[in-house]
């Protein structure tokens, strides 16, 4: 099966979903292009999983429509589900079966089970470092191993679009690295990847475009670079020859940290300039021996966009 979609990988129009009194998704319009590596971020309860569940057909929307690779998730559910693999956020498993049985059954639901698919399932077990657990019962796996089985289950039918809802929660460092290697490979092969994570460095390192959700809406949607350029500040670290006892008054508001002969300033993007700061220091008699700047991180942009919430969800 080819990995790219001829239509947009994901298309969402005017989507709404209520749960009792919670308006979990309030009017989302979204298009993810085929082959994109897309990040879906947002604090706890923002509605990310609800949106994903609607795409997967696990939840019926109250209003609006959604399509995977051009297939409506309700009217053409068979095609839509064949094109989609979802790694759910919650760890769930069937305690009756072994890992290999679970994967064979999942492939069977999609009408797959030939030698090709068996080889692919073995490859998945290998890549996800589950080969030695293949015949173990699901109950006998650790939490991180169960999550890896979920990832394998989502990929048994080689879906064009892969949605990972916090795939790295509870997964150890080594596996996380190899998981990203694998996901990057899928992306390179043309698969569309949608990633939800609370580890913003992961999203920053992997995603090309990022949507930040808040209260059931999309608060920002842009390329990673454009989002990062929205950052309100960057950090300037200055090393002086002698420890500075004081800084010029006009720099005091920008000073964030002073330790020995290192001064750290927080500069507002656009209005503050590095040469001006250095000039002020020079005029005040400080000898600058070294400078370093640090770009704002996605985390800062994220916090700015989702501010006013107590739970910012950096788990």
């Amino acid at each position: 099966m080819k990995a790219a979609c001829s239509a947009p990988a994901i298309e969402v129009v005017g989507l709404h979903k209520h749960f009792a009194r919670v308006h979990a998704v309030r009017g989302i319009d979204l298009e993810v292009r085929s082959g994109e590596f897309f990040g879906l971020l947002g604090p706890n309860g923002a509605g990310k999983s609800t949106l994903i569940n609607i795409l997967a057909g696990l939840t019926r929307p109250d209003e609006g429509r959604a399509a995977i690779c051009g297939h409506d998730v309700i009217a053409n559910y068979r095609e839509a589900r064949r094109a989609l693999g979802v790694v759910p956020q919650e760890i769930v498993f069937d305690p009756f079966f072994s890992v290999r049985e679970v994967l064979a059954i999942q492939a069977g639901y999609f009408g797959l089970g030939g030698r090709d698919n068996k080889a692919w399932r073995e490859e998945l077990l290998h890549t996800l470092m589950l080969a030695d657990k293949g015949d173990a019962n699901m109950r006998a796996l650790s939490g991180g191993m169960k999550r890896r089985v979920l990832i394998a289950q989502a990929l048994v039918h080689r879906p064009q679009v892969v949605i990972l809802d916090e795939p790295t929660a509870g997964v150890d460092v080594e596996l996380r690295a190899s998981l990203w290697l694998f996901v990057r490979r899928l992306h390179k092969e043309g698969h569309t990847i949608v990633l939800t994570t609370h580890y913003l460095e992961e999203a920053e390192a992997l995603c090309e475009r990022i949507a930040i959700m808040r209260d059931g809406q999309i608060a920002a949607l842009d390329t990673k670079e454009a989002l990062l350029s929205r950052a309100v500040s960057k950090t300037l670290r200055v090393t002086t020859a002698e420890p500075a006892a004081s800084v010029p008054p006009r720099l005091e508001s920008k000073l964030r940290k002073r330790a020995g002969n290192i001064l750290e300033f927080s500069l507002r993007a656009g209005t503050d300039s590095i040469p001006e700061v250095l000039e002020s220091l020079r005029v005040a008699g400080h000898v600058v021996t070294d400078i370093a700047t640090e770009q704002a991180s996605l985390e800062e942009v994220f916090l700015a966009l989702t501010q006013g919430r107590t739970a910012t969800g950096s788990r």
């Binding site: 749960f19 997967a56 057909g57 696990l58 939840t59 019926r60 559910y77 068979r78 095609e79 589900r81 064949r82 989609l84 979802v86 759910p88 919650e90 769930v92 498993f93 069937d94 305690p95 009756f96 079966f97 059954i105 999942q106 069977g108 639901y109 999609f110 009408g111 797959l112 089970g113 289950q153």
Partner: protein
């Protein structure tokens, strides 16, 4: 078709892997009923002319076991998958509502027949039990277990907790199956209770199933067959509609 086969096979495996509990135990329960009732009512007048009471009991116990196990199979599988959350693996697949429904009900029919054959196999060691109309036997067995399998789908979808399902089982399925003429003939009841019993669809399953063995029954077997088929269609249509709409499955 392949997807249906897989789900059907998975549902078979699910009870086969715990066959001791899902097949052997109900067979033993039915045989215990047989032992207790047969020895308690030894010497009582035959209910059907020329048929000893013990022999009379066996078809009813077989059908009662089929009814209860068909219901238990679909309902417990669904509620377990719902509560543990692994139902999503089926919901994420391209299976249609019909494939979903038929696979669950199909497996419950197989379990019901396994239990019935087990009860029959053990009982004929003690009591000779010839079969007069095997076609009726199979038809009533199929329709009865399909209907209760479908009812189990409805109950499994409706229930959100194990105790709700237990309530459905204890207050609906078990009373209806006990009060359906397993241990007595409809004709032994006072007129009022006869009328009430005639509202119980399970009565026709047991009466018709018994006709398959003895060639005699309280109700005309054709009428019973029609009523059981109608009941089976009605619960199946309702169950399919719930699955199709995703009621309590795709919240």
């Amino acid at each position: 078709m392949k997807g249906f086969n897989t789900l059907f096979y998975k549902e078979l495996l699910r009870f086969y892997k715990v066959a001791f509990q899902t097949i052997f135990a109900p067979v033993v329960t039915a045989l215990l009923y047989l032992l207790v009732f047969a020895s308690t009512f030894k010497g009582r007048a035959d209910i059907l002319p020329g048929i000893p009471y013990v022999a009379f009991l066996i078809p009813g116990l077989m059908m009662m076991s089929m009814i209860q196990n068909a219901f238990a199979n679909t309902s417990s599988s669904l509620i377990q998958s719902k509560i543990t959350g692994n139902l999503i693996f089926i919901l994420l697949s391209p299976l249609s509502a019909a494939e979903f429904f038929l696979a669950f009900v199909g497996a419950s029919i197989v379990r019901a027949f396994c239990v019935a054959v087990g009860v029959y196999g053990a009982a004929v060691l003690f009591v000779p039990l010839p079969i007069e109309h095997p076609v009726f036997l199979v038809l009533f067995g199929l329709l009865g277990s399909a209907a209760l399998g479908a009812l189990g789908v409805i109950a499994g979808i409706w229930a959100e907790r194990f105790d709700q399902l237990a309530g459905f089982q204890n207050f609906v399925v078990i009373p209806l199956s006990f009060l359906s003429g397993v241990f007595y003939s409809l004709r032994d009841l006072p007129p009022f209770w006869q009328t009430v019993s005639r509202l119980n669809p399970l009565l026709y399953m047991i009466d018709g199933f018994r006709y398959g063995f003895f060639g005699t029954s309280d109700v005309s077997p054709i009428l019973s067959l029609a009523l059981v088929a109608a009941f089976c269609v009605a619960v199946s249509v309702l169950a399919m509609a719930l699955v199709g709409r995703g009621y309590r499955l795709r919240n």
